[in-house]
């Protein structure tokens, strides 16, 4: 028997029960749509986090004050030293594995231009920050290069800040006020979005690090960002940074995190989340499969006479089996396609509503949900189809 004939025969049998067929297809469709959209959500979450980390710059070490490692004991007395500009200078000067480095000091203040004002994080850093963070400029330039110990009156605005304070006006060269301080706008950063450091980079402004420390009376840095020369040297660089700072502070009281470590931890968690979501969705597929089995059992017992006839006409048990399996997998295959369409549409809607969220079903989920839906048909259709082959043709034909 030819495969197209088999499929046409099965499709013909299904078209005799349109409502039943439609409902079975819908059942599988819901299952597949669930798989597609839920894995898209999970994958989207993972992708989102990965993007955020990558936007931090690739070979990045982040130094922060305080120990968060669980190993080792807290030093007696528990003295924690602050991270200072001198620490930053020492790192830059002594560790040759570092390509570039930027300190980060943070305050929050209202920035004013004319009548307009906006309270935002003020990030104090140096010219290197643009390299370390791969920051693009929308216009103008980033902070000028100079000794980190020197204050300055330059300011770089996030896109949102520039829009809020200046509207359509070009902010370059204009003055903005922050309390008693006056700044001249030298650049506007390109849109970047929220960073994992916790700031919305579009809704912040950059000024020289010394200026922030003076304006907010800070002696300590919030973070030190280090870009290591190459990926292979990350671990060594990290060890050297820890050793140098321990030496300077006479105790090990800083935490250095690599992007990789955090990223892979997050990635693993979110992969597990995706799999869990897929598992939940798979349950609905299994439920749909049981529905298919039910429908096929009804179909077989309704068509006893037909099965008997096919056997009388010389159809083999294998052909009868194939005919009913084809029917079941057509049902679930169609359900798979419908569900895929619905799932992708749902994802489209989601991304239309939340454009920042990169939800897209992973390719494996798309392929697998189609393969699995056909497989569900074959698996759950097998027993009913087998029952059809076991029908005694004489009984099946005579009882009408």
């Amino acid at each position: 028997m030819r495969a197209p004939d088999l499929l046409r025969f099965a499709a013909g049998a299904l078209s005799g029960h349109r409502l039943r067929t439609l409902l079975s297809v819908a059942g599988v469709g819901v299952g597949v749509a669930a798989v597609v959209s839920l894995t898209a959500l999970g994958e989207g979450a993972r992708q989102y986090v990965v993007n955020e980390f990558t936007s931090l710059g690739s070979n990045l070490l982040i130094v922060m004050p305080g120990r968060v490692e669980t190993t080792g004991s807290i030093p007696f007395g528990g003295v924690t030293h602050d991270l200072t500009l001198e620490d930053f200078q020492a790192l830059v000067g002594r560790i040759y594995l570092i390509r570039s480095a930027a300190p980060l000091a943070v305050g929050s203040e209202t920035l004013r231009h004319g009548d307009l004002g906006r309270t935002i994080p003020i990030l104090g850093t140096t010219a290197s920050y643009a390299e370390v963070r791969h920051l693009e400029m929308a216009s103008g330039s980033f902070l000028p290069r100079r000794d980190p110990e020197e204050a300055g009156n330059e300011i770089v605005l996030g896109t949102k800040v520039a829009r809020e304070l200046f509207g359509g006006e070009n902010p370059l060269g204009k003055l903005v006020r922050m309390g008693v301080w006056r700044f001249r706008v030298v650049g506007v950063a390109a849109p970047k979005g929220r960073s994992l450091l916790g700031f919305d980079m579009d809704d912040a402004a950059f000024v020289p690090v010394r200026t922030v420390m003076q304006a907010f009376d800070r002696r300590t840095l919030f973070r030190i960002l280090l870009e290591v020369r190459s990926r292979g040297e990350m671990e060594q660089a990290k060890r050297e940074v820890v050793r140098l700072l321990a030496e300077r502070h006479h105790t090990q009281d800083v935490t250095v995190i690599t992007q990789d470590a955090v990223l892979s931890a997050f990635s693993a968690i979110l992969n597990a989340l995706t799999l869990a979501l897929a598992g939940i969705a798979a349950i609905s597929l299994a439920v749909a499969g049981v529905g298919i089995m039910n429908v096929m059992l009804v179909s077989v017992s309704e068509r006893r006479a037909e099965v008997g006839l096919l056997k009388a006409l010389g159809a083999t048990d294998g052909q009868v089996l194939a005919a009913f399996l084809a029917e079941a997998s057509l049902l679930t295959g169609a359900g798979g396609l419908a569900g895929l369409g619905a799932g992708l549409a749902a994802v489209k809607i989601l991304t239309a509503v939340y454009p920042a969220f990169p939800a897209s079903p992973p390719a494996w989920a798309v392929g697998a949900s189609l393969a699995v839906s056909v497989l569900v048909g074959l698996t759950f259709g097998l027993w009913p189809a087998y029952r059809a082959t076991r029908l005694d043709p004489v009984n099946a034909l005579m009882r009408r």
Partner: protein, 223 residues
């Protein structure tokens, strides 16, 4: 062509054993026309199913075209039903979702005949039963007599040597019955071996041989 030796068929009904056939021995020559008669429950259908390889004797031997069917696998028996044996039933057993032509094509489809050839052969078979103009009609658009003729076209489209008909006119009026019987007889005249179960003495009388079953045993009536 057909040789039955001491064929028994018993059915297990609960505790009891029911003997549907009790030692039937029978030889049918190629091209013969045999009528099976007898009261209801006498074993006519059971005998026909055994002849058609749809059922197996409990005991005894059945040789079809010189082959012992008892030693054949299910696959080989399917092959016999597919190409050597045609069935016609009292209740037609047409698939209501298929057209007349589609029903006639069924056995060819399971035999793997190419679609083009199927179509021409189905059309040819329908023409031979006088229903070429009904090819596109579904069974519910056909009269009883027409349906039975479609079923006959389906039974012979694979070119069998044996045609088995179980009360083929049992559901038809007199005029349709006559048409159907004339059709079967014409095919018999062309060389097809014909075994017909019937209740109708007029139909039985037209057969070359009449075999009367009663309670699972047979006797042949003098011509």
């Amino acid at each position: 062509m057909i040789l039955l030796e001491e064929v028994w068929r018993t059915f297990q009904v609960g505790e009891a054993e029911v003997g549907a056939l009790k030692g039937i021995s029978l030889a049918i020559r190629r091209g013969d026309h045999v009528a099976l008669v007898g009261p209801s429950g006498s074993g006519k259908s059971t005998l026909l199913h055994i002849l058609g390889c749809l059922d197996r004797p409990t005991r005894g031997r059945y040789l079809f075209e010189e082959r012992d069917t008892g030693s054949l696998s299910e696959l080989e028996r399917s092959a016999l039903r597919q190409s050597r044996i045609g069935f016609v039933f009292q209740f037609f057993h047409l698939l209501s979702r298929l057209t007349a032509a589609g029903n006639v094509e069924l056995p060819m489809m399971f035999a793997g005949v190419a679609p083009e050839e199927r179509r021409t052969r189905a059309q040819e078979a329908l023409r031979s039963v006088g229903l070429a103009h009904r090819a596109k009609h579904r069974p519910d658009q056909l009269s009883g007599g027409e349906r039975q003729r479609v079923a006959i076209a389906r039974a012979v489209v694979m070119g069998p040597s044996l045609l088995l008909a179980d009360e083929p006119t049992g559901n038809l009026d007199r005029a349709s019955s006559r048409e159907v019987m004339e059709l079967l007889e014409r095919m018999n005249a062309d060389g097809l071996t014909l075994v017909v179960v019937t209740h109708d003495p007029d139909i039985a009388r037209r057969a070359r041989r009449v075999i009367r079953l009663s309670d699972g045993t047979m006797e042949e009536e003098a011509p």
